[in-house]
Point group: C2
């Protein structure tokens, strides 16, 4: 068994970095606060005798050797970056559970056959620099290194410059072919486990995603003298696109999702018809064809709406991932871990993107979910219980030992 208190204390210590007034965390990717999180994680890993590798996009790998130096590695991990109004558990629970497994093995002097490795992936959230899961995407070859280096945040800072600014551009080359199995513990970030009073979600895969940036351009004009029928009101277009995205998601239930998270009006004056609106679209589904259909339906809706309102538009894809179905053996290892520990469990689909979904394309992978309060995540009030955190970490220990061998 892992040490419940030790894991909880580390979680709470890490949550100090970027702690918000409402009990959440604002530690966005490649900021100085996130650098502090990375430094702390490395310090803890070194204290456990791990060797550290950092690759070209700043992913951090902490390795505990096994008895067979040539064996592939059994890996666990997640991410240290947060949303602007994020919680304490999203990401950190996975990284620190991996560390807790190593601490437990050290404490009990257990030598595994395969090495054990914990990874903290760069920029999983994607909110500062889209797309999400950037670090694991580059690592697995799903995302192109040069293109990702050129991605910018809202202030025009590139990933490349931000990475250099925190001194986390590494030179170690780490290959997906080294991985025997990858496990990622995470809070569910949805309501299902809590609703069904289940402790462990055995994650069988995750929704595919399509993200877009949309700019609608009309003509800014005075809100008073400009007759309704002569307007080219970009905000009217934005309102209708928001509704269309929502309608399309509702037409693809139970797995369809559609969200407008960002919107900026230009010039943003209360008595001026907005001449330009910039907005983001986030679409998700479990079936590859349904996701494609949704993407096409939204593109058609945008075209029709803009034509009707006399608007020009630019619709730019910023993320596009097919749904991921996890490796059966890894999924089984998670299910058996929960069973051996006598924990209630159910199969579940992840609505969020996770690094495991990219890793799963190049190596056997699976995930372990635990409930979070009211299913709320990407919110400062995100919350999980010490019992569930402990349970998830114990399932990880079992699954990793199962894969690594003694």
């Amino acid at each position: 068994r892992t040490d419940s208190d030790r894991l909880w204390e580390s979680l709470m210590e890490l949550a100090q970095l970027g702690a918000t007034a409402k009990g959440g965390v604002n530690r966005q990717a490649l900021t100085d606060l996130e650098r502090q999180g990375r430094d702390l994680f490395i310090q803890w890993c070194r204290a456990e005798g791990c060797t550290i590798r950092i690759d070209n996009i700043g992913n951090i790998f902490a390795r505990r050797e096994g008895s067979n130096p040539n064996a592939k590695t059994v890996m666990a991990g997640s991410h240290l970056d947060s949303q602007p109004t994020g919680g304490k558990y999203d990401g950190c629970f996975g990284v620190l559970s991996g560390l807790e497994v190593i601490r437990t093995l050290n404490q009990h002097n257990i030598t595994t056959h395969s090495p054990i490795e914990v990874v903290a992936w760069t920029n999983e959230e994607g909110c500062r620099f889209p797309p999400c899961m950037m670090g694991s995407g580059v690592f697995t070859g799903e995302l192109e290194f040069d293109a990702m280096m050129a991605r910018t945040d809202a202030d025009g800072v590139t990933v490349s410059d931000a990475l250099d600014a925190i001194h986390y551009r590494g030179s170690d080359s780490v290959s997906p072919s080294e991985i025997k199995a990858y496990f990622e513990p995470h809070i569910e970030q949805g309501p299902i486990l809590e609703d069904t009073d289940t402790t462990i979600g055995v994650v069988i895969g995750g929704l595919g995603q399509k993200w877009f940036d949309l700019t609608l351009t009309g003509l800014e004009a005075h809100a008073g003298p400009t007759p309704m029928n002569l307007r080219r009101d970009a905000m009217m277009g934005a309102a209708e696109v928001t509704q269309a995205l929502n309608r399309i998601a509702h037409e693809h239930q139970p797995h369809g999702r559609g969200t407008v998270g960002c919107m900026t009006l230009h010039p943003g004056s209360r008595n001026v018809i907005p001449g330009q609106v910039k907005m983001t679209l986030d679409m998700r589904h479990w079936e590859p064809e349904a996701l494609i259909t949704m993407g096409q339906a939204v593109a058609e809706a945008v075209e029709e709406i803009c034509q009707r309102h006399g608007l020009e538009y630019e619709l730019t894809p910023t993320a596009d991932f097919a749904p991921e179905y996890f490796n059966k053996e890894c999924v089984n290892a998670v299910r058996q871990g929960a069973e051996k520990l006598g924990l209630s469990h159910m199969d579940i689909i992840s609505g969020a993107g996770h690094d495991a979904m990219f890793v799963g394309r190049v190596a056997p992978a699976a995930m372990i979910f635990i409930p979070c309060k009211d299913g709320i995540s990407h919110n400062e009030i995100e919350s999980a219980t010490p019992e569930h955190v402990h349970a998830g970490c114990n399932v990880l220990l079992h699954a990793m030992l199962d894969a690594a061998g003694l």
Copy 2:
């Protein structure tokens, strides 16, 4: 006749203060740039021998004495502040036409019976500090001085502090009872004069206005795992309110207007369902009852939409003006001026709010419109021809002489 070149040169010189790359002006109320505009205007007026008065909200009155010191004053004016992406003519054309009348009278050594006075009203645009027409509103008693002093911009700066920062809190008391007649030249800011190839708009009145700030509060949550039917998406509410406002305006044609000019999403992350949206609503109509009906319909729509989406809301009025019908004699003076000058003219209703609409409630008032290119205003590309500017100023001269007597 007034001097066309002199007026045009002053207009262009003033437009340098806050000039934008696209040929417009950003000189928002009570900023340092607007202070520079005020200083320049006062310098020009002093050069013409005018005495200057500044009242408690920073309205500037420049007076040229008449032969009868006890006669009421004949006033012209408008405003020097602009939209963030405003044009060169909105406001300045009216103020500088008044100055040009004084320059012309001086040049020709003409003494009027009544004094002639030019006024620059504070914060007509209302975009930085709502509501619009704040200076004339306080002057006429339509708006309460203390309440206006406490109004804040988006950064929380009060009108009171901003006024002190530019040193334009005056101590002169100027009374509406001093005014015999008030005339305000302005660009139309709409397409009607241009469409009908008419030089002068004889403004018979202006649309009433209702402005609101609306805050919609739902629950921010993750865009992926949160099922569509469990969301409290504030952005869905904002989209529907935008459409409802538009629909209600369309149901009240030809005079109804409805505009959402500002919208801010919280937290504003592409993979987070917005937990809160703040937005502005601008509604207008020519008939008092129709404006009231529109306001009620929007309030009902907000209530219904919020209930359906599980949102809380706060709907705060920030401006509320009844339609204004101008004084018949002043309107006639404008019409006759255009006729005497052989200029094409038509009666017209102002869609924009103007200081004349407040002044008209306490003294005889009217307005003179000239065309602007494509009817576009509140836009950096706002444009008017020297010929139309000159024509409008000449009509002002005639109307003022008619009211002031020789």
